[in-house]
Amino acid sequence: MGQIKLNQVTKSFGDVQVIPPLDLTIEEGEFAVFVGPSGCGKSTLLRLIAGLEDVTTGHIEIDGRDVTNVQPAQRGLAMVFQSYALYPHMSVRKNIAFPLRMAGMDEAEQKKRVERAASVLNLTDYLDRRPGQLSGGQRQRVAIGRAIVREPAAFLFDEPLSNLDAALRHGMRMEIGELHQSLATTMIYVTHDQVEAMTMADKIVVLRAGVIEQVGSPLELYRSPRNLFVAGFIGSPTMNLIEGAEAQKHGAATIGVRPEHIATGDPETSPWSGTVGLSEHLGSDTFLHVHDTGLTESITVRADGEVPLRHGDKVGLTPIADRIHKFDAQGLRIE
């Protein structure tokens, strides 16, 4: 259960087409992440799947059934909203039970399901509290609880972690990941954070201006970005992009090298060299921002461990040859 298929789907608001014709299949049990900068249409796409917006043209199928004109509640999907969208006037118990109550399920079964969900999510002690009395992370779990009791065909997450602080976000990321492992239900997750996408996804869908730029596993996207946009979007710190003479040497309009694929060395013998501007010492890694290389304004290099280089030092740089990405004048990858 849980295959979702989009067939030539488009969406326009008034005269503005925000999603040009789009095809996409999400397989059963897959964890798919829609990622892209804000305004790229990823949330709209999710809402189209949820049924909260009508598609302008095209069809949406869930498990082979055409649900294009089916009400949101009848699609068998559950959604976790960015703001959690908990009902503030209901206790946690009632919040989680709400979809069951709407479906007219009998009370005993409701209670059983709510308690099972609560124990999975460590909410048992909070069942009689109101959402206002919970922390951000707990609210998030209630929202997930409300989604899982319905035993949906697929879960939809709309930037669910963006309202949490960094530490909690990391924890919730793992929890959602574990939840996916244990439920093995299809999940579609929208985020603008490529780290979330990389760490959680089976399949990443990179979107820009309503257009799918690339679909693939995290490592596929990392290893062979199909174009400059994906290259710049996936990976942190972002890939160094170099144009001009240096790129032409490789027969490309632009070449890209990830910071972690550049080795530091002697400025005299290395192919590239420059002056260290800012160096960020994280302990496990050191990020060097190297200026005056003659290639581009600044090259970011990730060096392992504690590198004793500081502001003003000369440094030599060697890109790993088979890790250089080449792009043509249109920004498309050259194999």
């Binding site: 608001f13 049924g51 909260l52 917006e53 009508d54 009400q71």
Partner: protein
């Protein structure tokens, strides 16, 4: 942003309110417009459906029209000046750390909830009565001759009464606006060396500008329609006949409906001029 189903449900749900208001606005207004071009005096049985702009000409050429416009302008202008100025001062005062702030606020706001007929009557008899009014007692206490407010200074008296009613409104709104001012801004200004008066002039007043505009516009709308206060006190005599009251007299007292309707249409046009500015101020807020 929504689905077709919810859009059509929404249209249906808006329909009653829109229809009712549309009817409320169009039907009587059309009738007034129609009467304003007619010679219509029901008590004498006169009804001639079309006399062109005669009513407008007669209404605007009579001395009482210009007196009424003048009285309206003075009244509204004076009340606005009093309520806004005192309202700012009172709001600043109530924003200070004072003991029993809640109670003081209640005392200051109370007049707004007094129904217009009561406040007019209370002021007329309890406060301004030349023999028994509290103000006369106060005058006598200081050795002055009591003053017959409503005959000797009728316009001023009404301005005083209405200002008393509306000062709470101005105060309350300006207080709300002052309290929304970011305290750090004032502290920053203090650090920058601005003394209290300058802080008021350069930080607080600009922050209040919007609220002041809204107070002025909303009060103007309500003040243009002042009726009960005049009805109860002077009945429009001694130069207190405002445009609203003049139209009321033409229509209901002397039953010259054609003439009164022309006056009504003029009142509508004047009110709309103010309304346009108010709607702009409110409309800006809708976008935010």
């Amino acid at each position: 942003m929504a689905t077709k189903a919810s859009t059509s449900a929404a249209r249906l749900m808006m329909a009653p309110a829109v229809t009712l208001l549309l009817g409320w606005m169009l039907v009587p207004l059309t009738m007034t417009l129609y009467f304003s071009f007619a010679d219509y005096r029901p008590l004498r049985g006169v009804f001639e459906p079309w006399i062109g702009f005669d009513n407008y000409a007669r209404f605007t050429s009579s001395g009482s029209f210009w007196d009424a416009i003048w009285a309206t302008l003075i009244m509204v202008g004076a009340i606005l000046a009093i309520t806004v100025t005192l309202g700012i001062l009172l709001a600043l005062l109530l924003d200070k750390p004072i003991f029993g702030q809640g109670v003081v606020r209640i005392l200051v706001i109370a007049p707004f909830f007094v129904m217009p007929t009561v406040s007019a009557l209370v002021w007329k008899n309890m406060m301004m009565d030349p023999v028994n009014g509290v103000l006369s007692h106060v005058f006598r206490f200081f050795g002055a001759t009591p003053f017959d407010w409503l005959t000797q200074a009728p316009l001023t008296s009404i301005i005083l009464i209405v200002s008393w009613q509306w000062l709470p409104f101005a105060t309350l709104i300006l207080l709300t606006a002052i309290q929304s001012l970011d305290g750090e801004q004032l502290e920053a200004a203090e650090m920058d060396g601005a003394p209290p008066l300058k802080r008021f002039w350069f930080i607080i007043l600009p922050h209040l500008a919007r609220a002041i505009t809204i107070v002025i516009l909303i009060q103007t709308i309500f003040l243009l329609g002042i009726f009960a206060e005049i009805f109860v006190t002077t009945q429009g005599s001694f130069g207190t006949r405002t445009l609203t009251y003049l139209v009321f007299q033409r229509v209901l007292e002397s039953q010259n409906v054609g003439l009164g309707s022309a006056g009504g249409i003029i009142a509508v046009i004047l009110a709309n001029i103010v309304a346009i500015f108010l709607m702009r101020a409110v409309g800006k807020n809708l976008d935010a």
